[in-house]
Symmetry: C2
């Protein structure tokens, strides 16, 4: 019998993200035992039924005993408390990673709560949709062909970094590295700002006197533009606050862009509008081709 990549995996927060990680590793034959920890007994039972986890840990010490890899996949708002709770039980050979959507804040928490374990704490962000949540939404193929961004710490050992990268590759993901600051800057622009804009538009329309009529006429363009406005309000509140500075910068740049477009529209500057629309349309079409969409 060959030795799996990961002997024992402990997942804190067995939802869509954590559950799919476990299912994918299991399908790849890359994990021995999976233990789950979480706040909701009902969700943990669902994870057991779906065989995402082999058992529910009785406590943190049990979960972490001889663990090869730990995935922190709970909401970022709970990350600090969980780190503080696991710190006393973390063993020398255990590598820890996370799945938070922002990285500078997670790194700051790790420096505060896991100061003795920085060699083996590799921050990560799997780029996978989270419209649905909970263990029942988990699937083995969630990460196939998706990107996972790791933001290694200077303290990380090559072995810890390699273990986390290998685990994600076993899930079928493409693994990239960058700095926490660059990660947060990039995702402020391509993810966090669009979420804020979509929430803003739907709330804007919902507050109108004729909201019902407007929603009645909204069609496929609106459907796609606002799909992310159905996302979890708590999760996105936390992401916005965690990435506040980068998001404020992107929002200011975007407001300046809207002010520019408003001025063109007011002056009936069709040439100016068309130039912006054309640049966007070409970039969006090229993006779709590059992504194979």
């Amino acid at each position: 019998m060959t030795h799996p990549l990961i002997g024992k995996l402990a997942i804190f927060g067995v939802g869509l993200i954590g559950g799919s990680f476990a299912l994918a590793l299991r399908e790849a034959g890359a994990v021995g035992e999976v233990v789950g920890v979480g706040r909701s007994p009902e969700n943990l039972r669902a994870a057991l039924e779906l065989r995402a986890i082999d058992r529910i840990a009785s406590d943190n010490a049990d979960a972490l005993d001889h663990a090869d890899l730990v995935l922190l996949a709970m909401p970022v708002g709970q990350m600090g408390a969980v780190m503080a709770n696991i710190a006393p039980h973390l063993q020398a050979g255990t590598v820890v990673t996370d799945a938070g959507s922002t990285k500078q804040d997670v790194v700051a928490l790790a420096r505060e709560f896991l100061p003795k374990h920085l060699e083996s704490f590799v921050p990560g962000h799997p780029i996978a949709g989270a419209e649905h949540s909970g263990a029942r939404a988990a699937r083995a193929d969630l990460y196939r062909g998706r990107n996972v961004v790791l933001t290694p710490l200077p303290e990380n050992t090559p072995a810890a970094l390699e273990k986390v990268g290998a685990a994600w590759r076993a899930c079928g993901a493409n693994v990239a590295h960058t700095t926490p600051a660059n990660h947060d800057s990039v995702f402020a622009a391509v993810s966090h700002l669009p979420h804020l804009l979509a929430f803003a538009l739907v709330d804007d329309i919902a507050a109108k006197a004729n909201a019902e009529e407007m929603f009645h006429h909204a069609a496929s363009g609106f459907r796609d533009f606002t799909r992310i406005a159905a996302s979890s309000p708590e999760m996105w509140r936390d992401i916005c606050l965690a990435n506040r500075d980068a998001l404020l910068g992107e929002l200011d740049a975007y407001q300046a862009q809207l002010t520019r477009l408003r001025s063109m529209l007011e002056k009936r500057d069709g040439t100016g509008l068309e130039q912006v629309f054309d640049s966007a349309s070409q970039a969006r079409r090229k993006w779709a081709v590059d992504k194979g969409l």
Copy 2:
């Protein structure tokens, strides 16, 4: 042999919209002969091959001779010129409609160029996606279950209004009526503004020094939010200019909303942000349920 709803249909602009209208009516057995008029001989030949049209009209007089229904489905920018050209050939029994995305401007053009035909000119807007264009994109089921908004003129005869409504219902569409001004106000909010916002975001990112890296990390949320940014720059320039006043109003309301969110973010007002996100998320989820998505 039963008499079809429409004996002779003349389509000006046999693209996605016009071609699909013809295919749907033909499939429903609701049309006798379909003649096509357009600027592109190649596109008209494609429409012929696809049997969207029975023949290419030799000129406007030929197209309009004994026509029961005329659909104007060319870009709104050409609408005035086409109206001026067809006016001398329009016969008394012919009903005319259009498929423009804005209605007050089309009504103004009709009042200018078709003043003797206002009884029988019924402005319309089929709400159907237009990511792809041209006759080759046409399909018989494009309008099935979709909404078509008619904005009747006070001059319209009941018979003209009924003919246009019956034609769209034969295509499988749901037909609603409103005023041109209300139409333009509603679509400024649920369609035109989202297009402007999506174009603005993609252009914003495309102009960054690290645009390539950003696009690399953009995932499914970005994909859906920006799908409409791949739309035709010319068409959307025309729509924005045609619906300038309503769009400026929506843009101002949206900028005020963004300024409010920015202030919450700056003050780290998580409760305020969550309230807006929660209102949007609930409205978006309810919308999806109501639409059966």
